[in-house]
Symmetry: C2
Subunit: 109 residues, 2 copies
């Protein structure tokens, strides 16, 4: 289960060629390999829910990649993991935009 102390790493990718099936599969397979990184507690590889519409909905991305870590340390380990570095090296040519939202649990002020 998600807990407030968890670290949430959410990445959205926009493919260079959104309609190209080879590029879609190449990035999907790349993301699926990331799942094996030991530092990850949970993750989800998604695509836009096309029925969600409205002025507040961002549905233009190709993939969402949600990763949950139990700590910031685990996230740091993930970034340096050879599998992650290999993913960036071999897949970065596939996207023209990636947007990262890193969140830690909100606390009262």
């Amino acid at each position: 289960m998600l807990k407030q102390e968890h670290f949430i790493h959410q990445v959205y990718f926009w493919l260079n060629n959104p309609g190209n099936e080879n590029d879609y599969m190449a990035l999907l397979k790349g993301l699926e390999k990331l799942v094996k990184i030991a530092a990850i507690q949970q993750c989800h590889i998604g695509v836009p829910h096309t029925a969600s519409t409205g002025e507040t909905v961002e549905g233009s991305y190709s993939f969402s990649f949600l990763v949950v870590f139990t700590s910031k340390d685990a996230y740091e380990h993930y970034l340096q993991d050879p599998i992650h570095l290999h993913f960036v090296d071999t897949c970065k040519h596939l996207w023209n935009k990636a947007l990262v939202y890193d969140s830690v649990g909100a606390k009262p002020v």
Copy 2:
């Protein structure tokens, strides 16, 4: 645990007055009430991890609200839940921007 068939509803909020503690607490308390909605499987209320920087990092938001549903139907129930409708009515004056990313599990093509 997250599963590929899960529906991921991720919302980012930008407060009108990001430095105002009353507004921060009002939105935090509003989000905490949403957690009680029965249709939700898991959720996480976050704030930006300020140490994450770089051209791909979006760290200007005030709150992230991650909600996991076991199905699209559960998501539809959530949207119509009186607790959710009350949240929008009573808290929408607090933010000037909300961005929604709704994702379903990616599949091979």
